[in-house]
């Protein structure tokens, strides 16, 4: 799976939790999931569990701490898939 494909799937998974839909139009690696997309912090766990299902990976709590931006999420998934 290419990085672009992972990125697209990450956005697809995050989308239902995004409160600031306008921010999705300019989303990039540096977009902060909580601050820019206004995702509720409690929902971040659901998002990461959806990553686990979609990409068939397992994420530990400590790994998830590093996920602040969309780019962080993509990097984590890439690392788990490799």
């Amino acid at each position: 799976m290419t990085r672009d494909e992972i990125f697209a799937k990450v956005i697809e998974i995050v989308k239902p939790f995004v409160k600031n839909q306008d921010a999705l139009t300019a989303v990039n690696d540096d977009t902060n999931i909580l601050e820019d997309l206004k995702v509720n912090s409690a929902r971040l766990v659901d998002i990461i569990l959806n990553f686990e299902d979609e990409f068939d990976i397992e994420v530990e709590d400590d790994d998830a701490d590093a996920v602040n931006t969309v780019g962080d999420a993509v990097a984590l998934i890439e690392e788990k898939l490799s």
Binding site: S41, A42, V45, I48
Partner: protein, 248 residues
């Protein structure tokens, strides 16, 4: 579980020992405020405390107190109900560490000092994951040393006035899955006059207190396991609430 840096461990030890030295000047006054000035009363207090002390004698596992949450004084009332002020003077480590919302208790220096002295570790709920994680690691460290901590599994005060089953905070499960042997103690507290959430309980209120050690189970690992644990804790609180209303 990663070990806390020496600096943080030393800071905790310092906070604990200063609080211990000053205990006479804050444990008893807080109990005085609750009992005399606010007129609070714990129903069957002697029985509650006997049960709690028996529980502590039976097990030397780290204890994570997980109560329902309706007022900003819940942690103080629960600690008072379970231990009793004089008992804590001689069992200081049993005063639970608390995780109050930073913006409620620690945003100004007088309340920040008070929170520090009274074994609080302020947290910004819904804050940056790294910051929340740092607080969780501090609690993990304290529990692994055999201390007691208290965390509200619904994260904030229930706006409906009832335990909210869909509000399980992931941090609870995360702590439980990472501290070997850690036992969650579900506590249900409610004043007779507590209809819904509030800042403080009504003056002269009388509190029902029940508690139960829960053993959460999960076939999963990683974050899914933590989530299962958190949900089971909140579900048990829902059950304890149903039992409370059925008895009324």
């Amino acid at each position: 579980m990663t070990q806390l840096p020496f600096r943080n461990r030393a800071a905790h030890a310092f906070q604990r020992e200063v609080g211990r030295l000053a205990a006479l000047f804050w444990v008893l006054p807080i109990a005085f405020i609750m009992r005399v000035l606010m007129g609070y009363h714990i129903k069957d207090a002697a029985l509650v405390r006997t049960r709690y002390r028996a529980l502590l004698k039976e097990s030397d596992h780290p204890l994570l107190i997980c109560p329902n949450h309706l007022t900003m004084m819940d942690s103080a009332v629960i600690a008072w109900a379970l231990g009793g002020s004089w008992w804590y003077l001689f069992h200081y480590s049993r005063i639970p560490w608390n995780l109050p919302e930073y913006n409620n208790f620690a945003s100004q220096w007088p309340t920040r000092v008070g929170a520090w002295l009274t074994k609080c570790i302020p947290v910004i709920r819904g804050g940056r994951r790294e910051d929340v994680s740092r607080v969780i690691k501090r609690v993990q460290h304290l529990l692994s040393r055999g201390e007691t901590a208290m965390i509200f599994p619904e994260a904030g005060r229930s706006r409906s006035g009832r335990v909210e089953a869909d509000a399980a905070a992931h941090a609870v499960g995360r702590i439980l899955t990472s501290v070997p042997g850690c036992q969650p103690l579900c506590v249900y507290l409610r004043g007779d006059r507590q209809q819904t959430w509030s800042t403080v309980p009504a003056r002269g209120d009388s509190f029902y207190v029940d508690f139960e050690v829960v053993e959460p189970q999960s076939d999963h690992s990683g974050m899914r396991r933590s989530r299962d644990f958190s949900q089971q804790i909140v579900d048990r609180l829902v059950g304890m609430e149903e039992e409370y209303f059925a008895r009324r």
